[in-house]
Subunit: 348 residues, 2 copies
Amino acid sequence: MSRTTVSLVLNNVRDIKISPATRQKVMDAAERLGYVPNAAARALVSQRAQIIGLLLSRKSHHISTDAFINPIMQGLLDVFRQHDMCLLIDIVDPDHTKEAYIQLARAKRIDGILFSGPRLDDEALKLLEVDGFPTVLIGQLPGTKLCVVDIDNCAAAKSAVAHLIRLGHRQIACITNAQLTYSAAVERLRGYQCALEEAGIAYDPALVRFGDFTIESGYEQMRNLLAGQTKFTAAFVASDTLALGARAALSEQGLAVPQDVALVGFDDLPFARYMDPPLTTVHLPVSDLAHRASEMMIALLSGDHVPCDRVILDTELIIRESCGASHTSTVMKRKEEKEGERIFRNNL
Amino acid sequence: MSRTTVSLVLNNVRDIKISPATRQKVMDAAERLGYVPNAAARALVSQRAQIIGLLLSRKSHHISTDAFINPIMQGLLDVFRQHDMCLLIDIVDPDHTKEAYIQLARAKRIDGILFSGPRLDDEALKLLEVDGFPTVLIGQLPGTKLCVVDIDNCAAAKSAVAHLIRLGHRQIACITNAQLTYSAAVERLRGYQCALEEAGIAYDPALVRFGDFTIESGYEQMRNLLAGQTKFTAAFVASDTLALGARAALSEQGLAVPQDVALVGFDDLPFARYMDPPLTTVHLPVSDLAHRASEMMIALLSGDHVPCDRVILDTELIIRESCGASHTSTVMKRKEEKEGERIFRNNL
DNA sequence: TATGATAACTAACACGTGTTACTAAATCGC
DNA sequence: GCGATTTAGTAACACGTGTTAGTTATCATA
C-alpha cells in the first residue's frame, strides 16, 4: 500500500479506482494512528495555506474595548469552518512595522486578507492592490479598486442626526468615533454635517470633538464639550462605546438623558439596549458584514467571477429612549422594547 | 550567487563568512523584489509553523459579547510580535466537531495551543495531554498536568461576597457567569458558597441562577430572581457582562442600586467604571494573564525548562458604588474615583 | 615553492504532501 | 485463446526552503 494510495483515499479524489477493501484499510489505519496530513507540506504543494488573515487596523491598545471585533470573528469563523479555512489575526498599528502584514501575504502564510478599518494614510494597502493579493476591505477607502464590504456611514450618521433635528434640536454636539485618519470617522462626521446643512443649521466646530475608540475618550470629550462655551441640547456620538463614556460624563454633571441632553450613538452594540436610558443608535449589521466579507473572500480565492466587488449593507436607526422620542412608561419599557423600538431604514 | 547564499544572508546565520559585498547584493535584490521566504516551505523544513492557536472554548454565539477575548488577544499579539509568531483563532463549540482543534495540532498547523475557558467535559483536551502537545490553559481544569495560567476564581468570588456580607447583607442572590460545565463558573459559585458558610448563612438554591456569558442571560436571570418568592438585598453576578443585564432588570422594576439591591460584578471590564452607578467588581488582570500565558508558551516551545507550570495571578476587589459602600458625592464621584476606589487584594 | 589554513561559495539532500505518468493485473469481447 | 480495455496500484517529480558536506579560490607561513 503506497503513500499515493493513502493520499487518494483520504482526499476522496473523484474518478479514481480504489477497491473498497483497500479504501477501508486506509481509513482504519488513519483512524488508529490519528493521522492528519501535514499542513505545511500540503500548503507547499498546493500553494494554499488555507488561512485567511483578519487585519485590525487600529492602535494595539484600542483592541481591548473594540466590541466590533468579536461578532466579526464569529461571523468569519462560521463561514470558514465550512470551507476548511482558518483565521489568523493581526493588528496593524501605525506604530509597528508598516509592512508587517505585507510580509504575511508575500510569505503566503495567508491566502487572503480581510482588512478591517482601513486608514486613509495606509500606504502598504496600495501595495496589496498592486500585488493583486486577494483582499477585502471591511470599511471603505476612497480611490481603491479593492473589494469592499461596508455600510454607508455617511447616510447612517445623517439619519441619526436628522432624527435629533426632527425632535427640535438645533444645537447638536458631535463626538467622532476615531481620528479622521480612519475613513469611517470621516464619513460619519460628514453625515453629521450633511444633516445640519439640510436643516439650515450652521456647522460649528466648537461643538465637535474627536474620539479614539475608547470609552475614556467618550468620557473625556464629553467633559470637554461641557466645559466649553457653546451650549447644546443633543449629542451625536459616533460609537456606542464612546456614548457610554459620554453618558457617564453627563450624569456626573447632573445632566439627565434625554431631558437635558438627548443622546444618539452608533453601532448598536449589545449593551446599547441595556443602558439607562436605553440608547438610540444606528444598528450595524455586523454579522452580515462578516458573512458577506468572508463569502466574498471565498469567491475571490476559488477564482470565481466575483459578481459584486462593492457591497454596501443597510443600517437602521434604532429609536430607544436616550433621544427623548420614546414615551413608553419606564417600568415596562424594556419588556415592550421590540415593539416600542422604532426603526428607520437608511438605505431603501 | 546561489540559493544557499541568499538563505544564509537573509537568516543572518552566525559564524558564517560572507563578503560584505555579496551580503549587500543579496539584501538589495531581496528589497527590490520584495522577496519574503515562503512560510510553508520554511515550516516544512523547520517543523515549526510559527503560529500559536488561541482556542476559545465556548458556544459560537457567545463570542460576540465576550469582552474577555479582546484584551487577551492584544496581550498575546504584543508578546508574539517579538518572537515572529502569529496568532490563529478558533472556537471550540461542543456543537461542532469535537476534535477539530486536535487536527490543528496533528497537522502541525500550529505549534502550540492556548486554551481559554476549558470545559470540564472536554474529552479532547486529554488527548492533547497524551500527545504531549504544547498547551497552556487559561483557566483551570481539575486533574490536569497541563500548564495553567489563571486567577483563583473561588477566592476572588469569596472576597466579593464577603464584602457584601460585611456591609450587612444576609440575603444575597447569585447569578453565575456560565453553566457549571465551565470550571470558572463552578469556582466562582464555590466562592459564593464559602463566603456564606464562613458567615454562618445558609445556602439557599432559590437565590442562585445560572447565566450563559450574555447580557441577556443576566437580564433574564435577574428578572427570574425578582419573580421568585425569596427576597434579597444584594446580588453577586459573576460577570460584569451579566451584571449589566441584571442592573437593567432591576431598574426596570423600579429598584435602585445600591439602595434596594446592592450589586457586585466580576471581571472589571472597561465599562464597569462607567456604569450608573459605577460597578463594584473583581478586577481580573487580563493583560497579565495574556502575557504570562504567551511567555509560558514561548518557553515551552523553545524547549527551555519551564520554571513554573501553574501561575495563579492576584485579583482585586474594586469597590465602587454599586455595593453601597462608597459615600463620595454623586457629582464628583468619577473624578475622584481613582482615589475613592478601595481595593482589596485577594491573594496576599 | 609547497603546505596548510581560511574565506567564499555551492551541490545535494531532506521536509511531507499532491499529482502525473506509468505498470501490472484482471476482465471482457469475439 | 488473444488482443483490447478496465481496474488497482506505484514510482517519481514538484513545491521552496534550511542545512550539511564539499569544492574552489586566496593567502599566509615555513
